[in-house]
Symmetry: C2
Subunit: 475 residues, 2 copies
C-alpha cells in the first residue's frame, strides 16, 4: 500500500534542543537515534513501513508534555503523539525529522467517583484498565473494541474510537466530559470541569476529539461512565434481506429503546467463512442471506428473555425474521457471539486481508453492499470478500483476501471508495484518516470543509508541527 | 442590568450594498431602517434594551443566506443571526451598525424518515414543530424546553440548548447528526451526511453548536430522533438532604439505566412558594428539606410502577427517602409535575426575578446551594430566593426576587458567580453567554481557553463580522 507522506523537511535541531530536552525530561525521559529507540515505536498496526523518529520522548506529567512541546516549538521540530500504536490508519507513525511522544509513562487513574460515575485518567491508561476500573466502581465504560488491552484512552479520544457499544452509548466523543490538552506551543488547556451542561463559549474540547493528534497532545481525560446493566439477552436471527434487518432493528428499538445494545449484521459469506475457520456449528439448519446478532439490556434475565422472544415472534409473523435462537445462558450467548469474531482470524487466512471501515446512510447499506459485490465480481471473479458491520450505527466493514484479487489492493480501494462517494458515505467510520485514507478524504468532505479544517489547524498550530502530513496534506 | 457591548464601529455601507441586497433577496427580502422593522426583531427575551438594526434580512434559502453574507462581507457590514428570539442571554440582540438575519422564512421540514428516525429541517422551524413531526413519525425529539412554541431549531443548535431531557438524551449537541452552515464570507459548509460514525478529519459541525452565531449562520439541521417510550412512571419523593438525593438518583440509574428520564430537585423554599402561587395541595403531610420529581420510562405501566415502587421501598429502608408518592395515572403525573412549573409564575411575582442558570460538579450542588443561601442571608436578610434544578445533569437554577435584595442585582450576580468560580462550576449551563454573561466568562474559562476560542473565531471569521461583541469581546 502506498501512502502520500509529507514529512516536514526540518533541518536537524541545534545542540541546545537536546540539552533543553534533557533538562525538561531528565536523562531517562528520552532516547535519541534509531539504535536507542525500540522498533515498536516506529510504526503501528496499520502495516505502514516503519520510520525511526529523531527521538522518542516519554513524559511523566502534563508539565513535562508542556515543556517538551515548548522546546520542540522553539526549535521547529515536528511532533508525532503516540498512544498504544494500535491504529489502523497510520496516524501514529513517526516522521524521520521529528520526535515521537509516547504517553506510556502517564498511566495513572487519578480519580473514580462511584457515586457520580466520573473517572479522571491520564492519557496513557489502556482502555481495558479503564473498563476494569469502571466495573470495580459499579459502572461500565461505554466504548469497547478489540485492541482494548493495548490501545490507550488518549488515542481512543484522538481517533474518536467506535467499536461495539456505539448503538447504545455513542462514540468516544459521547464518553468524554472533559479534556486536558497541550497545544503545539506548550499552552495547557484545562478543559476538565465535570459538568454535563457547560455552555461557556465554544466547547473547545470537541475540537481535539478525533483530530488524530494534529492539534495538540491530550494529557488527561475526564470520562463519563454508564450504569451497569443487570441482565442481558442475546439472540441470533435469520433474515431474508436487508430491509427486513432494518425493520427488526426498528421494532426492537421501539420496544426496548436504548436498551438495544448491539445489532451486528453478517452477510452469508461472512457467516459461512467464520463457521469454517472457527469450526462452529450452524445456528440454523438452512443458510440465509443475512444473520443478525442482537443484544438487549434489562433488569431481569427471565423477563427480558420472554420479552425478546415475544418481540421476535411478532417479527416472524410480520415476515421480517425467518428463524431465531435466543441464548438461554451467558455461555450460549458467548457461543453465539463467537460467529462475529472471525475478524481475529483474518490475518491468518486472508493473504493478507484488505480491510475497509466505511459508513453509509443506514437505509442504503444493503444496496451499497450489493453494488460492491457486483463491482468486485465483475473485475475479480472468484474474489473472497466478507461483509459485516455494526449496522445499527451505519458502519459497514468489508474485508477481501488480497490473493483473490491478484494483490490489486489499490484498485480495490478505488472501486470501493468510489462507491462510498457515490452513496454519500464516509470513507472512515471509526478508524480515522491517518496516512492511509488521505487520498480519499475528498470523497467524504467538500473542498469547503477541508479549507475550514485547514483554517482551524492553522489557528491552533500555526507552525504545522503537530503530527505533520497526517489527516490532510499541509496544503 | 448593564452589559458591555462592543458594537463594530462600521461606517454606513455604500449604496451598492443596498442594490446588491435587493438583487440577492428581492425587494421583499429585507426591510431597511427602524421604521420599517417590527420592534420584535430589536431584542430578545433577555430584557436587553432594544436596538433597531440597520436592516432586517429575511432569506428563503441557503443560497440567499450565502448571497447576503457575501454581500455583507464585501461591504464589511456586521451580521446578527436571529432565531425565535427567546434567548435569555442577549445573543440575538441586533447591533446598530449591522444587519439582523431572521430565519423565519426558512421553516421547511424537508424530510422525516420514520424507519431510521432521521429528520432534516431548515433552521427556522420551531422546536414544537420538530417535536410534533417526530411524534407523527412514531419517534420523539430528545430536547424540550419552555419556549418550544417560539424558539427555532437553528437557535437551539446555536445555543446548544438543554431543557428537560438532558439526563436521558443529552443536550442539543447529541441530537445533531449534521449541519449546513454558511460562513461569514458566504462559503456553504455542507456537513449533512446522515452517519452516526464519520471520522473524516475534524468534526467541523461541533464547532458551530453552541457558538451563538459568532462563527456562521446555521441553515439546515439533520436531527437524530429518539425511540418513543411506551410507558412512563412519575413519582415525587421527600428527601432528608442532598447526599440522599444523589444516592436515590444513583439507585434509580443503577436499576433503570438510561430509562430515568427526569430527576428534578426542589429545595423547600421553592416547594412552599410554588404551592402558594399555584394553590396546590402538598404531596406530603410534612415539610422536607428537599423534594425530587422522578420520571422513568418503560414498556408496561403497571409493571413499571411496581418496579419503581420496589426501588423506592429499598431507598426508604436505606434511609435515603423519607416519603414517596407514585402517580397512578397520567393525570396524577401531570398534577405532580405542576409543582415544578413555578418558573412560569416568577415574572408575575418576583418584582422582577433575577435568574441564574449555573452548573456544578454534581456532588457539590448541595454545598453550593447552602453557601449561596448563607451569603445571600448575610447581605440581604429576608431575601426571597428559590433553588431548583435538573440536578441529574448538574444544572442548578436560582431565582431571587429583586425587590427583596433592594434591586442590587449586580451585587447578587457577583456573589453567586464568585461562588460558582470557587466551586469550579459553569456560569452558564444551558442559556449561553450572549451579552449578559460576558463579564463572568473568565470565571469558568482560563485565559488560555479564551485565547484558543479567539484563534478559532479569527480563523473562521477573520473580519469579525459574525455577531460581533457577543460571547467574548473581539479583543
Amino acid at each position: 500500500m502506498t501512502t502520500s507522506r509529507t514529512d516536514n523537511a526540518a533541518a536537524a535541531p541545534a545542540a541546545a534542543f537536546w540539552t533543553d530536552l534533557e533538562q525538561a525530561l531528565g536523562p531517562n525521559g528520552f532516547s535519541r537515534g534509531a539504535d536507542a529507540i525500540p522498533p515498536k515505536y516506529w510504526t503501528d498496526w496499520s502495516g505502514t513501513p516503519p520510520v525511526p523518529p529523531l527521538a522518542l520522548l516519554r513524559p511523566r506529567s502534563t508539565d513535562e508534555v508542556s515543556a517538551l512541546l515548548r522546546i520542540c516549538h522553539a526549535h521547529r521540530v515536528p511532533v508525532v503523539p503516540q498512544g498504544g500504536l494500535t491504529g489502523l490508519a497510520g496516524a501514529a507513525v513517526p516522521v524521520a525529522q521529528g520526535v515521537a511522544v509516547a504517553m506510556d509513562r502517564m498511566q495513572q487513574i487519578e480519580d473514580v467517583n462511584a457515586r457520580t460515575g466520573l473517572m479522571t485518567v491520564q492519557a496513557g491508561v489502556s482502555l481495558q484498565t479503564v473498563q476494569e476500573a469502571a466495573v470495580a466502581a459499579g459502572w461500565v465504560f461505554g466504548v469497547d473494541l478489540g485492541a482494548r488491552g493495548s490501545c490507550q484512552i488518549g488515542g481512543n479520544v484522538s481517533t474518536n474510537a467506535g467499536g461495539n457499544g456505539v448503538l447504545q452509548n455513542g462514540m468516544m466523543r459521547e464518553q468524554v466530559l472533559g479534556l486536558e490538552v497541550v497545544l503545539a506551543d506548550g499552552t495547557v488547556l484545562p478543559m476538565l470541569r465535570p459538568m454535563l451542561k457547560n455552555n461557556t463559549g465554544y466547547d473547545l474540547k470537541q475540537f481535539f476529539i478525533g483530530a488524530e493528534g494534529t492539534l495538540g497532545i491530550i494529557t488527561r481525560v475526564l470520562l463519563r461512565l454508564r450504569p451497569a446493566p443487570q441482565a442481558k439477552a442475546t439472540c441470533m436471527v435469520a433474515l431474508p434481506g436487508f430491509d427486513e434487518a432494518l425493520a427488526v432493528l426498528a421494532r426492537m428499538q421501539a420496544r426496548f429503546g436504548n436498551s438495544v445494545a448491539a445489532f451486528e449484521l453478517m452477510w452469508s459469506d461472512f457467516v459461512q467463512t467464520s463457521m469454517q475457520w472457527q469450526k462452529l456449528q450452524p445456528a440454523f439448519a438452512q443458510q440465509h442471506p443475512l444473520q443478525a446478532l442482537i443484544d438487549v439490556d434489562g433488569k431481569d434475565e427471565a423477563a427480558l428473555r420472554a420479552a425478546v422472544e415475544e418481540a421476535l415472534g411478532e417479527a416472524m409473523e410480520a415476515g421480517e425474521v425467518v428463524d431465531a435462537v435466543i441464548a438461554q445462558s451467558s455461555e450460549q450467548a458467548r457461543s453465539l457471539w463467537k460467529l462475529r469474531e472471525a475478524p481475529a482470524e483474518m490475518t491468518a487466512h486472508m493473504h493478507p486481508p484488505v480491510n475497509f471501515d466505511v459508513s453509509l446512510p443506514q437505509v442504503d447499506i444493503g444496496r451499497f453492499a450489493a453494488a460492491c459485490r457486483a463491482a468486485f465480481d465483475a473485475r475479480w471473479p472468484g474474489h473472497h470478500s466478507l461483509f459485516f458491520g455494526h449496522v445499527g450505527d451505519g458502519n459497514l466493514h468489508v474485508t477481501t483476501d488480497s490473493q483473490t484479487i491478484n494483490g490489486e489492493d489499490e484498485a480495490l480501494e478505488a472501486v470501493l471508495y468510489g462507491l462510498v462517494q457515490q452513496f454519500q458515505g464516509s470513507v472512515s467510520a471509526e478508524h480515522g484518516i491517518g496516512l492511509h485514507k488521505m487520498p480519499y478524504l475528498g470523497f467524504s468532505r467538500s473542498p469547503q470543509e477541508l479549507a475550514a479544517m485547514r483554517a482551524i489547524k492553522q489557528a491552533l498550530d500555526p507552525l504545522g508541527l503537530m503530527n505533520p502530513g497526517k489527516v490532510f496534506a499541509a496544503d
